[in-house]
Amino acid sequence: MKFAILINEGPYQHQATDTAFLFCKAALAKGHEIRRVFFYHDGVNNSSSLTEPPQDDRNIVQRWSKLAEEHKLDLVVCVAAALRRGIKDENLAPGFRISGLGQLVEAGIEADRLVTFGD
């Protein structure tokens, strides 16, 4: 089945992005396809290449980049939300791309299921 994922909160502050990540991993392990992960609102902060969590903590951004590489995931960051919050190509982590909100609507149309993670 084809899933699309919407993530509305940033890394560390809320658990939403953790839950989304573990959901995606489980879906992929079951053979489902993740059509697109769309980052909106503070969710865009998940794509910052500059985050540096403590050694003993999970690295949320790198985890997304790695999952994207392994499974050819399409991680899309909303451009308008990103500009508001200071995410640009210069601090965009590998595997993410910046694009418009139309990518979210398109994912909703093309996927069999859209699941939202937020606050």
Binding site: L101, L104, V105, G108, I109, E110, L114, T116, G118
Partner: protein, 123 residues
């Protein structure tokens, strides 16, 4: 595959304006969805009904008043606006207090409407 596909999208707005950005950024998604010729419904319940309150004046908080945009939805062919009756009542509001024409539905009807959707996004 998206060519010609028409899905029923519902945007559920449950948060007050200005305290957080969800109301404003939700509206941005709604406007974009219109360009995709989808079947779009907007729902306002809980504090989301406050988004439609007339008379918003945001100068004092130095924030953008985006409420006039709700009046412009019509021009984007977004005409299905639903408000939950119980939410209005708990906040002392009536249809007359709202910026736009809406369909007021009691909670159970709202729940039934949700069941008919393909994609539900909640903000």
């Amino acid at each position: 595959m998206s060519e010609g596909t028409v899905k029923k999208f519902m945007f559920v707005n449950r948060k007050a304006p200005y305290g957080t950005i969800y109301a404003l950024e939700s509206l941005e998604v709604v406007l974009i969805s219109a360009a995709f010729d989808q079947d779009v419904s907007l729902v306002f319940m809980d504090d989301g009904v406050f988004q439609l309150k007339k008379g918003q004046q945001t100068k004092g908080i130095e924030n953008k008043n985006f409420s006039p945009t709700y009046r412009a939805l019509d021009g984007y062919d977004i005409e299905k606006l639903y408000v939950e009756q119980e939410s209005l009542e708990a906040r002392g509001l009536t249809e007359d207090d709202l910026l736009v024409d809406v369909t007021v539905l009691p909670k159970a009807e709202m729940g039934k409407l949700m069941e008919t959707m393909d994609v539900v996004l909640s903000f």
